[in-house]
Symmetry: C2
Subunit: 596 residues, 2 copies
């Protein structure tokens, strides 16, 4: 049976030692009162709930899955009850607007909470996670009446939300959406069509389900510019938010899939279902992007969560499992063999996970803080700069962390040897669950194209230069610290090379647009490493300072050693990817279709 | 529903164009009569059986799994019937010794046949696959009486075999085996203990199951030098090979696992079971190595097979699925969107699979041919050289191809987007099945240590230099062909660097033995790339010659383009790994256990 303990030590290192979030939050009047003690207390409670209530349902959910009968979805044993307690304890409202019953806490808090819930049980956490997305889309684009009806229920967790985008013939290419919306003489619209892959699309955990649906108006222009967004509730609420009549939106079936068995992936049939437009006609994709960006960050957090849980178990196993002697002589001579954590290749596997996880935590929490600045900072310039960073780095967060998360869970399973392949031990579930994160909310190819084409090239590199400026500032600030050169020198070298590389890609893309698609995936990995190298250097600096100040906590020695491991063994991938990018599109485009 | 078509085109390219196996087999009197037409006809029949009889059971096997009740294992619907037909058609006896009823065909034929059966259904193919291992161990180490009793039945496929090595507390570290064997006054031995993870350990497909079991004699020295091998049949045969009384060897339970559901992974309880020693006392691990080396090559073939099947489906999907327009303008303007095979990143994913698969096929078939030379060539020098190459490259074949196979099946699934995560579509099964191959028959860490410590360093690099000599010879032979420089130059550069690197590792290892463990895994990837780069250059040369000779078959253009892709985008990993190795053991060993 796998175990999970919330990693408070490292969370506190990131929040307080590294990001000094209290200082950041102080500059945002809405959050200026949140002190470190309250923050830590909230996280401790969340961690307790995640590890004690939600985690014990992780294997049950995988084993039982959801069941579907006559349009009704039954979630696995315990899911409903845990959700009821989650709602009662007020977790859904954490970072929501007090105007609708929220607690008005920073998004940063939600980020850390989501990490722990995803470690505990990704499939379960998707139910409340999607509600938060619906909340964000409605608060940004809903009419005042829509907000009054839906937001208090979503904030309270009484209702949950979904995103209904995909259809059988289109996922990435939403311009092909066929679901139709026709104005209803009685008000609102009537929607007809079939959506697939709708996570949490039907279940027994909440009183109502709020679908946000992409569809076309009869006169809509073709393609992505003819898509509108509609709110389509399972039960139609009155103005006071009391549920009424059942809407013509039905779950047609649920999918059998590789993982996240506890979450119902639904076919949703709209059969003249009543809906109300959210935002402007034909601008639905824009409105949905609010939700999608939040969801992409959410998916990154899922992989961070899974990787952390898998790592904890791999580490524990590596300390206990006795097998072979260390090549440099017995380390546990009193036992029949040494614990496998003494072997360099087992350490390589563990440290790869650790280095990816801890950098991802620093990176995502920093993004969480920047979302708070973007949303609530009084200074417009500060808001804009934070928005630029969040926009640039959202695809990196999603793509890089989910790819690393799959590798990490795969390695964690490998540490278990044959025992990792056995379902009971729980390791292979982490891999199966982690696999979806590279696909949904935009495949990692889509993330890579979003980064390179939209966020970098279409922007003339403006946002990337801004990020480079931050990193450059950090590098310069280390000039008085010769001990930091082992990190700062390679970081500076990589940064310089990335700027050159980006200009090269831009130039080649003007000759041949296929160069963008050919460079995108390795480019995302390069930028991911730039960000992780920056965070590892920053963490190394904090650790050096603390060690020098005489602090004995092993976390600082561990940080410094992990930073060195990252620079030695993982960062060099960036050079390999740069080399790959420079070979251009030629080798990809040379084959005719029949030659594959 | 996934599809599978035996890749005869590429198999013929490898056998005839590239390896010119007829010429190779001519030099072995036992196989000199086998002409190309007969060889192709056998493979065509095997491919037909694999794709028409065995492949349709692949998803059924995954869905149903094996069931266990009261010591009896029932295999999935159709498994037993397919096995009966397999036996009737004579496939088990293909490359077995005519003295025991075999057809005496080259191991090479078996290699190609096994690729196709593994593409069709890895879980099913493991039942006959393990029998072949038992056959090899008994023919090498059995007494004349054991051979007379067991071999004809194994060759006919009437009985199947297993390897009983692992116990709950030991897999990699077989020195810890606890199962005990005590001489039986009535003859033979009585074995007591519990084995786990015994593939095909119990089933309903054959009349008898022949377990080869590692156990300790009462006076055995501790560790690996105190292990003996025993044959323990499920039913005790008489001297004529007629099954008699049930032996005290029982299946205690079967495992629930990530994949290969159709194969029963058994706990095997030996409760004073009758057994007979195979080979010498305390030399069992040696005897078992015959079987293990064959099994390691077999596992590589499993991953090649799975990767091929997954690739075929990803390619078909990429040609059909319409999504987005090509960045360089519509390619299917009459359709609502372009087929995704036009997009560079989809091509990157497909070509990665193709490049790994085709190089693996060339490499493994060449190893198959070398096994035939090792076993049957009249010239001792030729036999010894072939044996050295097979010994050096067995861990590379197992480790490199199974790692690449996992990546390939993961990419094939990714090409399907969300549809890849859905069980019905069959793609996620390929990933789950492929995952075990990195673990069993020695984890890939064990393979890497076997390669670097035993096959390279303990041998003073002698075998590696022999391989280098072959590659050097090829490079020199290309000097009259300037068009080959794009392949030959980087290959020569890499080869030179690998020789330097190996000397460096050897020198560092004398100071610190942990350097071996720290270098092993990336070193295996480097050597894998050396081999694949060599084969891609050889295949490019063949393709160039054929194109120049005016042959219009697109396979040659495809080969040349894939070789260029491999050199541009995959081979540079070798440099990254070399850099990783040079950072040494320091960053791995710096952390204390509590600092993880």
């Amino acid at each position: 049976m796998p175990q999970y303990t919330p990693p408070f030590n490292d969370i506190q290192f990131v929040l307080h030692d590294l990001l000094q979030v209290e200082r950041g939050l102080k500059s945002i009047p809405a959050h200026a009162d949140l002190d470190a003690i309250t923050l830590d207390a909230i996280l401790e409670e969340a961690g307790k709930f995640a590890s004690e209530v939600v985690f014990p349902l992780n294997q049950v959910g995988d084993r039982e899955g959801c069941t579907f009968k006559d349009g009704v979805v039954t979630t696995p044993t315990g899911f409903k009850e845990a959700y009821r307690r989650y709602v009662e304890t007020g977790w859904p409202s954490l970072s929501c607007d007090p105007e609708y019953g929220g607690q008005g806490l920073p998004e940063l808090v939600n980020t850390a909470v989501m990490e722990m819930f995803n470690s505990a049980n990704q499939a379960w956490t998707m139910y409340p996670g999607l509600s938060h997305g619906a909340y964000e889309a409605l608060i940004a684009h809903g009419t005042p009446e829509q907000k009054q009806v839906y937001l208090p229920r979503l904030v309270a967790g009484e209702w949950t939300g979904t995103m209904c985008l995909t259809e059988a013939h289109c996922g990435t290419d939403l311009g092909l959406v066929k679901t139709r919306a026709v104005a209803d003489p009685g008000g609102g619209y009537r929607l007809t069509g079939t959506k697939i892959f709708i996570s949490a699309g039907e279940h027994d955990m909440a009183e109502n389900i709020v679908h946000l649906v992409l569809a076309r108006l009869p006169d809509a222009p073709p393609g992505t510019k003819g898509i509108s967004m509609f709110v389509v509730p399972k039960f139609i609420p009155d103005a006071a938010g009391r549920v009424g009549e059942r809407n013509a939106v039905q779950c047609g079936s649920i999918e059998h899939k590789m993982g996240i068995h506890g979450n119902a992936t639904c076919v949703i049939n709209l059969d003249g279902a009543q809906g109300w437009m959210v935002g402007e006609p034909n601008r639905g994709l824009n409105a949905m992007f609010v939700m999608m960006n939040g969801a992409r960050i959410g998916v990154g957090m899922q992989s961070l969560g899974l990787a952390e849980a898998a790592y904890q178990n791999a580490r524990a196993y590596a300390r206990e499992r006795l097998q072979m002697r260390s090549l440099s002589g017995p380390k546990a001579p009193d036992k029949p063999a040494d614990p496998i954590i003494v072997h360099p290749d087992v350490r390589r596997m563990l440290l790869t996970q650790k280095a990816y996880i801890e950098a991802a935590r620093a990176f995502t929490y920093w993004i969480g803080l920047n979302i708070d600045i973007e949303q609530r900072h009084p200074d417009e310039q500060a808001r804009r700069e934070a928005a630029d960073l969040v926009s640039l780095l959202t695809p990196v967060l999603k793509g890089f962390i989910t790819d690393n998360g799959y590798e990490s869970t795969t390695l964690a399973m490998q540490v278990f040897g044959g025992h990792g392949y056995i379902t009971e031990n729980g390791m292979e579930q982490f891999v199966r669950d982690a696999r979806i994160n590279m696909i949904y909310e935009g495949t990692n190819t889509v993330q890579a194209l979003d980064l390179l084409a939209r966020k970098v090239l279409a922007d003339q590199g403006r946002k990337l230069i801004k990020l480079g400026g931050l990193i450059q500032g950090f590098i310069q600030a280390q000039s008085e610290r010769p001990a930091m050169r082992e990190f700062v020198d390679p970081l500076a070298e990589l940064l310089g090379e990335v700027h050159k590389l980006t200009v090269e890609i831009g130039r080649k893309a003007m000759q041949d647009p296929e160069e963008v698609g050919a460079a995108a995936t390795p480019f995302l990995r390069v930028i991911g490493h730039v960000v992780f190298a920056w965070f590892w250097a920053r963490m190394a600096r904090v650790a050096m300072d603390r060690i020098e100040a005489g602090e004995a906590d092993p976390v600082y020695r561990s940080k410094l050693a992990t930073a060195r491991f990252y620079y030695a063994r993982l960062l060099p991938e960036a050079q390999f990817r740069i080399r790959e990018i420079r070979t251009g599109a030629g080798s990809l485009m040379a084959l005719e279709e029949r030659e594959f």
